[in-house]
């Protein structure tokens, strides 16, 4: 067991090192950082001075070490466009993205699991077929298309929800939240549904597949033969045993949700980190790109690690198989 954790930790460290290297390479070798800071008109002496100040004349290994040290302290340098520290920009945008991700994940779980259970229990009902068709559309349609569709229906035709922005935001000092105001909830509805669509269909499909598998097993037949009520068999026995893969998927998908938020944030002009990153990509604002990449990968790595550990806790069979090797 400790060997397993150690191996996972080692892998996580490797991922972070690779990401730090890529970010550094982006920062150092894509475009000239000096040009970005002083502009093309600066004199040669000024440029040389800034080069020296930035430490660009030092050996590359030393530069990387310095970059990594700074990144570990959340110092990603100044944004080329905004002339502001990247960490400040990221932190100010972080609440919007996290709120969007959490609301849509709750939506995906809250709707996806019941849909999966229903389609597994009543395979041939009309509603099941409708859910199945919906799930195929959810997997196939690109996120941005779903978003535009929602804007067209709910903003343009019905005029129910605003098509962009976060609504009124309450400032809690260290956190800004849109979840305390009516307009905030109205604003988060469409982005959250759009973002949840893919995860919802994924969860539904997995719950359905796992349920079908479990329902065929002997202990379910036995439970039924004992005369246990269907509700207890279906939920107490069957659903409970499908939860292991579902938890894994939910955990792993949390990372994708944050990445896919880039697209949703772009469609709805949601002022989160994704929009900031996209803006940076379009304007070649490397410090923001590098900072976002590092932040995202830390989140990914931590989530993956937690899922791995949780997985072992939930499924005792896995524990014994790990101990064997």
């Amino acid at each position: 067991m400790p060997a397993f954790i150690l191996r996972r930790l080692f892998q996580a460290a490797l991922v972070l090192l690779a990401v730090a290297l890529i970010s550094f390479a982006l920062f150092r070798f894509v475009g000239d950082p000096v040009n970005q800071i002083v502009g093309v008109e600066a004199s040669a002496a000024d440029r040389a001075q800034i080069r020296e100040e930035l430490g660009l004349n030092d050996p590359v290994v030393l530069q990387f070490a310095r970059f990594a040290m700074r990144a570990a302290q959340l110092d990603f340098g100044m944004s080329y466009q905004f002339r502001q520290p990247v960490s400040e920009l990221l932190i100010s945008r972080f609440p919007a993205t996290l709120e969007l991700a959490i609301v849509s994940m709750i939506l995906a779980i809250g709707v996806g699991i019941p849909m999966g259970v229903y389609t597994a229990l009543y395979r041939d009902s009309l509603l099941s077929k409708a859910f199945q068709a919906l799930s195929l559309a959810g997997i196939s349609l690109p996120t941005f298309l779903i978003g535009i569709l929602m804007i067209y229906v709910f903003s343009v035709l019905l005029g129910l929800f605003p098509s962009y922005g976060r609504g009124d935001v309450v400032d809690l000092g260290w956190w800004t939240t849109g979840l305390l105001t009516r307009s905030g909830w109205a604003a988060i509805f469409m982005p959250a549904v759009t973002l949840a669509m893919f995860q919802m269909t994924l969860i539904m499909r997995i719950v359905r597949a796992e349920m079908l598998e479990v329902l065929r097993t002997d202990y379910i037949k036995f439970a039924k033969a004992r005369g246990l009520p269907a509700r207890i068999v279906n939920f107490g026995h069957a659903l409970r045993n499908t939860m292991v893969p579902v938890i894994t998927i939910i955990g792993l998908e949390l990372g994708s949700v944050i990445a896919f938020a880039i697209i949703t944030e772009s469609v709805f002009q949601w002022p989160g980190m994704g929009l900031l990153f996209l803006n940076a990509v379009q304007n070649a604002d490397i410090p923001i790109m590098a900072g976002y990449l590092i932040l995202i990968s830390v989140i990914f790595v931590v989530i993956n690690l937690m899922v791995d550990l949780l997985y072992v806790q939930v499924d005792p069979r896995l524990k014994s198989s790990i101990q064997k090797d």
């Binding site: 690779a18 990401v19 475009g31 349609l141 298309l145 804007i151 990372g255 990445a259 304007n283």
Partner: protein, 310 residues
Amino acid sequence: MPANPSSQGRMARIMDSDLVFGFLNSKLTVFAAVIVLLLLVSALLTPWIAPYDPYDPTQLFIMDSHIPPVWAEGGDWRFLLGTDDQGRDLFSAMLYGLRLSLTISLVGIFFATILGVGLGLIAGYVGGAIDALIMRIADIQLTFPAILVALLIDGAAHGALGGEYTEDTAFMVLVVSIALSFWVKYARVVRGSVLVERNKEYVQAARLVGRSPIAIMFDHILPNVMGPILVILTINFGLAVIAEATLSFLGVGLPPTKPSLGTLIRVGQQFLFSGEWWVVVFPGILLGVLVLTINLVGDWLRDALNPKLR
């Protein structure tokens, strides 16, 4: 596998196989396959079937702008699906957009396949440090969604190319982004299959008669791992179409002067609020149908080639 079955016998065997039987028995799959084929052919023949050339400014008339589809009020028979703000025929623009989207996705996936299959073969067959290196890179990349990787490559290209970023480089950047973000699945699956195959007798026999490792990899092992490669190919094709459309939609793909389907949707989105729904709805439907039908064929192929599900 026999090297030279008589051609007639081979055709008959193919028609008689479970694969073809299953295919013809699934009406939905046949329907989806026909639509995919139809879209591919119309993309191929676009210059001949499109009524106008949307890139030719001499064919644009500002008087013809903002015309709705023929069946709506104010429609014009010259423009089946209406026009955009430039007076561009939407139907033609969609055909050219489809052609571009498909070209980029197919070329990108082609390189991704070569890269992934090649690296997977090498990793599986050679093993050792090379295997470890390739698979660690794959692991690391798999931590991130493909779209994020593609965005990052695109951003780096913007930074590196600066002012030289033009229509043609945009095409190349998209292809490279897709190739570099979709190779991982191939590499992993091919490596896994190679690990199984390389200990089989036919590989030992080939080694014994003195064939080179490269010949063994490509002549002997590769044909035996084609099944999974084919499945990943169709799945990746659908994903690549989505990736291209998404990048173009996000404004880091093809520019409005040479629109792919994603660019058309991005540009059309601005007209939603002025009631000109057709500029965005029709390209959206086309993109949706394209991805949906590709996925349907891919789903069927995955089930058909997976012996576990039989």
